[in-house]
Subunit: 321 residues, 2 copies
C-alpha cells in the first residue's frame, strides 16, 4: 500500500483527505500548529492548549464514523459564552487536558472517530506565526496575517516564534512517504507554516517521495493577488531552498462567470503561466457550489476544489509510482 | 433478568448505579430534569437545552467505556468562558442540538459510552422547580431551593412549572419494573422533582414492583435538619398519596466522630426512628472518605454511601423477589 503524506492545514487539507479516504492508501496528514483565530484562538488563550481546529478538520475528513458523529465534531455552539466554539475543538482540548498530551488526545480522538490513517501535528510546541511586512510592520499571529490586506505588497520575513523543532513522527512519515502533497490552502497561513518548523523542509527535500503541489483555484486579495502558478512555486522554493516539486496539479475548468464576479472582492483566478512545464497536470477540479456554513467565523471560499476529482488525479499519480 | 428502576438525580443516583452495574440486572435510571445550577444552568439559559448534568452522571455511572472516556465526561474546564463547564454536559448539549432531541442525544451518548442499561429523562419538557415557603417567599429554581436555609421551617408547596407530562418511556419502565429504588439524594431537589411530573407517582403506585427507599446518611442544614427516617417517608407520602415503600434501607454504621464534627455546619446524621418497622433493613453502608473534586461547583458530601455495599443490599432484595 502506497504511503501518501498530506501537509497543510485548514479547509484545503480537508478536501484532499476526504477524497483520498476512499482509496486503498496509507494516509498521513501533517498539520500546521499556527492557527490562532476563532474558537481555536480562544482555547489557546484561555486553556493553554495546542490549536485544535486544523487537526479536528483532518480527523473529520478521515473519519469513518457515523454522519452524526462527524456533524457533531463540526458543530458550532451559537449562543452565550460557548458561541462560536466548535464542539470538536472542545473535545480535543478536553482530551488534551485529561491525557496531559495533545498527541495522545489526537490518537484517542482518532480511535473514537474511526479514522483511516493518521493525523500528526507538525510540532507539539506552542508557536506563534509572525510576519514582517516591507514597511516593517509586524503581523502577530496567523489570524492577523490571514486578515492582512498588504501581504501582496511584499514581506521581508515570516517565522514561527519560538522556533520549534518538528514532531519526530512527522519527520518519519515524510521520510517513509511514497507521495507528499502540499496544498491547496492559504499559502502563508496553512502551507508555509509547516515549512517553517525546524527539520520539515529538509525532510521533504531528502525524502524519496514524489512531491505534488496542488495549486489554489483563487488568489486572495491582499495576500496573493495576481499570483500565477509560478509565483506559488517561487514562494515554496523560498522556504525549501530548491524547487523539488515533481507534479503541479492545476485546475483548468473555468468557474461560472457570475461566481467570478461575486468573488471579485475576495480574489482573482490563479493563472497558469507554466503551460509548457512537463510537471503540470491540468484537469477539471472544480467542486459544486456550496454555501458557507452560517457559523463559520471566517468567510470561506465559494469556489472550491472537488474532493473526488482531486483524489482521482492523485491516485493516477500514485498508480504510476 | 430482573428489572431494576432507579429514580432520582445527582450524586445519589450515581452511587447506586455504579454499584448495580456490576450485577446481572436490567437497569434503568429515570432522571430528574429540574437541575438549573452551575454548568447545567448556564447551558439551559444560553442554549435552551434540557439539563444535561444529572443525566451525564448516570451515563458515566453505567458506562463500561475506558477510564479515560469516563474522566473526560466528568472533566471540568478550569479557565476562561468555559470555566466550570463539564465536558460531558457540553457533549450532551451539542448532541441535542445536532440531533434535535434530548432523548436521541442520551441514546447516542449511551452508545458512545457503552452503557449498561438505560438512562431516561423523567420528562422531555423544559421545567423549572419552584417552592413556596411558609412565609410566602417563592424559591425559583432548583439551585435556589438547594441553597435555601429555610426549608426545614416548613413550606407550603413545591411544583414544576409548567406542569409537565411524564416521558412515556419512563412510565413503561416503571410499569415493567421488578424493583424500584428511590434515593439517596436531595429530598426536595433530586427525589421529589420526579414525583411532581404528571403520571410518575401514579405509575409507581400501580407498579407491581417492590419499592425500596434508600435513606440519606445526613440531613442538610436548612433543608432537612433534624429529620428522622419517618420524616423522609412522610415527605414521600405527601407526593405519592400513600406510603407504598416495601423496604427502607438505612445505614447503621457510625461515621468517625471527627467527620461528624467537621460536618456539623452542613448537617446532622439521620436518626432511625423506625427500629421496629419490619420494612427497615439496617446495614453498614458507609463509603470511604473521598475528597470532593476541586472544580465541583456546589460543595459535595464528605460522608457518602459506598456503592458496593449499597448494591449488595439491593441484590439481596432482588434475590428474594
Amino acid at each position: 500500500m502506497k504511503k501518501v503524506v498530506v501537509i497543510g492545514g485548514g479547509t484545503g487539507n480537508f478536501t484532499v483527505l476526504r477524497g483520498l479516504k476512499k482509496y486503498d492508501l496509507d494516509i498521513s496528514a501533517i498539520v500546521s500548529m499556527a492557527d490562532d483565530g476563532g474558537s481555536t484562538g480562544i482555547l489557546r488563550d484561555d486553556l493553554g492548549v495546542l490549536p485544535p481546529g486544523d487537526v479536528r478538520q483532518c480527523l473529520v475528513a478521515l473519519s469513518n464514523s457515523s454522519r452524526l458523529m462527524r456533524s457533531l465534531m463540526n458543530y458550532r455552539f451559537e449562543n452565550g459564552d460557548l458561541g462560536g466554539h466548535s464542539f470538536g475543538n472542545l473535545f480535543l482540548s478536553a482530551l488534551e487536558k485529561v491525557t496531559g498530551s495533545f498527541e495522545k488526545a489526537v490518537e484517542e480522538m482518532s480511535r473514537i472517530l474511526f479514522i483511516k490513517g493518521k493525523v500528526i501535528p507538525v510540532t507539539t510546541h506552542q508557536v506563534r506565526l509572525k510576519m514582517i511586512l516591507k514597511n516593517r510592520q509586524v503581523l502577530d499571529g496567523e489570524k492577523e496575517i490571514y486578515l492582512s490586506q498588504e501581504i501582496d505588497q511584499g514581506y521581508s520575513s515570516i517565522y514561527l516564534e519560538p522556533y520549534p523543532k518538528a514532531n519526530p513522527h512527522a519527520i518519519s512519515e515524510i521520510k517513509n512517504a511514497d507521495l507528499i502533497i502540499l496544498g491547496p490552502g492559504g499559502l502563508h497561513t496553512s502551507i508555509i507554516p509547516n515549512l517553517l518548523v525546524g527539520g520539515i523542509s529538509d525532510a521533504i527535500k531528502k525524502s524519496h517521495a514524489k512531491k505534488v503541489f496542488i495549486v489554489n483555484l483563487m488568489n486572495r486579495v491582499g495576500q496573493t493577488s495576481g499570483f500565477k502558478v509560478s509565483h506559488y512555486l517561487d514562494e515554496l522554493k523560498r522556504y525549501m531552498g530548491v524547487d523539488c516539486i515533481d507534479y503541479i496539479l492545476v485546475n483548468d475548468q473555468k468557474p461560472h462567470e457570475s461566481l467570478i464576479e461575486m468573488y471579485a472582492e475576495e480574489g482573482d483566478l490563479v493563472d497558469n503561466d507554466l503551460q509548457g512545464d512537463e510537471r503540470v497536470i491540468s484537469a477539471s477540479l472544480l467542486g459544486k457550489l456550496v454555501e458557507p456554513a452560517k457559523t463559520d467565523l471566517i468567510k470561506r471560499n465559494l469556489i472550491r476544489h472537488d474532493s473526488i476529482k482531486l483524489a482521482q488525479e492523485i491516485v493516477k499519480i500514485v498508480d504510476h509510482l
